[in-house]
Symmetry: C2
Subunit: 169 residues, 2 copies
């Protein structure tokens, strides 16, 4: 039996390329404005946080273990009730795997699966309901996470192991 | 004429000491729980973000210039419509100056003015309406900021220069 393995190319993370999935959190390429008697420069509204009315938004820290490549992906998840943002706190690079939903919104569109590489100064925010792989840090490090807490099911999962998706750098 | 200068002691930032003003965002001293097939450890709900119904919560980056000590403080501010969180992205230490409101909530209680020092791995979240000094980073660096955006007045300011408050380390 031959197993077909799909190797996904890894793209640099840019605002435009990530637009269908959410926002890139970085100062690069943005103008911002001076605040606090010029002691700080504010790059405002880089990510828009979202929750349903039954939830609330909170900050958490994920302490991530560095993953070895190549990686075989076996699942995706999505949060139907709120957005989810990740910002590296130790300058660590990480991979972001995202996918559009199928037209009926029930499944994912395998052909749209994409992998992005953060340079470690870039965070991301997944829009509500965007299919993504759980956090894939390339070295040990902490991430500040902004997401929705509260009752109700806020995590759908799907097994993608039949697709045999691999990531190599 | 003799000017009376009040020199404020600088306290280490701890969850308990900061409780009247908001939350400390750090893993230290917390248990957390394993997630994502043990590839991450989640320290959840470290800070509770808040906005009024007319606003929304967003992430921004403040690029701060390092401040020289001693510092003379001349104003405090508060955000009546939402919380405001700061997390250092480059491990930089920063000072947090906070103050309780007067019993009528209109002014601040000078006797309660406190200064805390973050070790650079600690962020903070000011509860809605807490009087505080604008960001005082001790070296150049970026901070991830989670706060309320939207219409309406979300910044009260007060001149504290008559108190001649100084900070020294």
């Amino acid at each position: 039996m031959t197993v077909q393995i799909t190797r996904l190319p890894v793209a640099n993370l840019t605002t435009d390329a990530f637009l269908p999935f959410g926002q890139v959190i970085e100062c690069e390429g943005r103008v911002g404005h001076s605040i606090n008697d010029a002691s700080s420069h504010r790059f405002s509204d880089l990510a828009q946080l979202e929750t349903d009315a039954d939830g609330r938004l909170a900050l958490s820290i994920f302490r991530a273990s560095g993953q070895m490549l190549p990686l075989m992906l076996n699942r995706l998840e999505r949060h139907p009730l709120g957005s989810q943002a990740f910002m590296p706190l130790n300058g660590q690079s990480f991979l972001i795997v995202v996918c559009l939903a199928s037209p009926d919104q029930m499944h994912f569109n395998a052909a749209s699966l994409k992998v992005f590489l953060s340079n470690g100064r870039q965070g991301i925010n997944f829009n509500r309901g965007v299919w993504h792989h759980p956090l894939l840090s390339l070295s040990d490090g902490d991430f500040l996470v902004a997401d929705r807490l509260g009752s109700g099911n806020n995590c759908d999962e799907i097994d993608i192991s039949p697709w045999c998706v691999a990531i190599e750098l």
